[in-house]
């Protein structure tokens, strides 16, 4: 039954505007990060950007991906929130629930479909950004031999894995916010306002909060761990948040009357 809900949701997700728009948009944005990173990289170290020498290291390829992590997470959040909130605002949820009254099943199928869609988009964007990084490395005479070494490929795979795990978290939070607000516009405004300016301001004023705010933790996972929040802590705490959010979403979805 979950497979049926997944396949039903996929009819909606595969429409050209959304599919091409999301995949191409994310690929373009991730590539842009890679292009700018290589274009602006200084010859010697120092400053915020990695130097050309650092980019030539086995892990040089993942710098661009890491820079795009926040963007990818925010997009995953937005699409997930829109997909579920839209069912309320369009009124389509009542049609769906007549055909699949087991609400938890419907929610699980929808979640898995949106997640698959977003994971595909992230993988595709990462591949395109990798190609862009190779092109830019050639343009700036950065040797890429280390990138294709076993260490380089391992680093890239790990970075991509981290990014995908973070995408799962952002997608679940998007679903929860969409479910709670039942309006795409409100969910996007509230979610983006929280993830971007709010958490940024709070962590700037009280730096310690970066170790437990969910958006910061997911960013830490996406980038393989940060100074404020190490990877293991970020992973465990995020898992706790995701489980709580998932339970809340399911209970709300199953128990709430559908009046839209």
């Amino acid at each position: 039954m979950i497979v049926a809900a997944f396949r039903s949701e996929w009819v909606k997700l595969k429409r050209p505007n959304l599919l091409v728009g999301t995949y191409a948009g994310l690929a373009l944005a991730a590539s842009l990060f890679a292009i700018l990173l290589f274009a602006q990289a200084p010859a010697r170290g120092g400053g915020d950007l990695p130097s050309l020498a650092q980019l030539a290291q086995p892990n040089g390829l993942i710098h661009g991906v890491n820079r795009a992590a926040v963007l990818l997470g925010v997009v995953a959040f937005g699409i997930a929130a829109t997909q579920i909130a839209g069912e309320y605002s369009l009124g389509t949820l009542r049609q769906l629930l007549v055909r699949q009254p087991r609400r938890a099943v419907l929610l699980a199928g929808k979640f898995l479909a949106v997640l698959a869609f977003m994971l595909g988009a992230v993988v595709f964007a990462s591949l395109v950004a990798t190609v862009a990084a190779f092109v830019m490395a050639h343009a700036r005479h950065v040797p890429t031999g280390a990138w294709t070494s076993s260490a380089g490929i391992t680093d890239l795979a790990r970075a991509l894995g981290d990014l995908l795990v973070a995408t799962v978290g952002f997608t679940i939070f998007g679903l929860v916010v969409g479910l709670l607000f039942r309006s795409s516009v409100t969910a996007i405004i509230v979610g983006f306002a929280y993830l971007l300016p709010f958490e940024a301001v709070v962590t700037r004023i009280v730096p310690h909060t970066a170790t437990w705010l969910p958006g910061q933790l997911l960013q830490a996972i996406a980038t393989g761990g940060q100074e404020a929040a190490g990877f293991p802590r970020a992973l465990i705490l995020s898992a706790v948040y995701v489980v709580i959010a998932g339970v809340v979403a399911t209970v709300v979805f199953v128990r709430r009357d559908v009046t839209a």
Binding site: R15, T92, R94, R99, D257
Partner: protein
Amino acid sequence: MRSIRTVERMSSGLAVITTGLTKEFGERRVVDSLDLAIPSGSVCGFVGPNGAGKTTTIRMLLGLIRPTRGSGRVLDGDLDHPASYLAGVGALIESPAFYPQLSGRDNLLALVRLGRLSPSAIPGVLERVGLADRAGDRFSRYSLGMKQRLGIAAALLPAPSLLVLDEPTNGLDPAGIVEMRSLIRSLADEGMTIFVSSHLLSEIEHICDRVVMIRSGRSVFQGSVAELHGMRTSELVIRTEQPGQLGDLAQLLCDRGLAVQIEEASGSVSVSDAVALAGELNRAAFDAGIVVAHLAERAGSLEEAYFALTGTHSGDVEAVGALGEIQ
């Protein structure tokens, strides 16, 4: 437990039965102890003023809203477990809701996949509602009537035993309304049970064989359309040979304690509940020197029965809207 046993005992031959169905939103009771009994194979109208609780009732039957109290069975499945009966139910709830960026066909495909139905059902239902030629168009480009027809097509996808339609003629032009009536009748002829809500009595009169009327969430009438017709009051219409004698006739009737209304436009008076007195009144008029040129019984309208039962009157906003469209 007693109500559940009662429901079980009564459920044979009934597509829908509820006992004491109640829904409260906070302090507000929207549906109040509603007992429904819809025979299998019937076309049952669900009528009431706006805000009477029709849509809330329908949503409870479809498992979208949880009843506060009461019990029921739909297609012999327990109302508390919608999954036990919804596979056999098709529904159009309020305005048709679909994904605007998807074509009509893809919208149906999403529902087919969700309900694990056969995709081969799609062309048939599109053909049946006259949308086969426009199935590839985006839903957002459909007219209101086409959207409504797609909603019906979606409801027909599972080849349902029970079809629940909430205001199915909303937004349809007169030709569309006639088509919709014809479609509903043809579905009923195939043995489908149809539960159709409307605030338009003419709809109910044309397509239904049973009626449930509700007001403020409570049932005020439940029975056949013929029974409803039987509840209409009749009046006597009298026209005098000399128009100048109309006032004298009205006075004569008033003196006998009858409720009289002068109808200037037709030059006649109407007398409520006086059909049995026709001969006596004719003689009394003759004795008073008034020559009656026309005397006939006029059945009260179905709308009047509706207003009497629902407690609304033609001055109410809802009633005026309904009456206007009825006429």
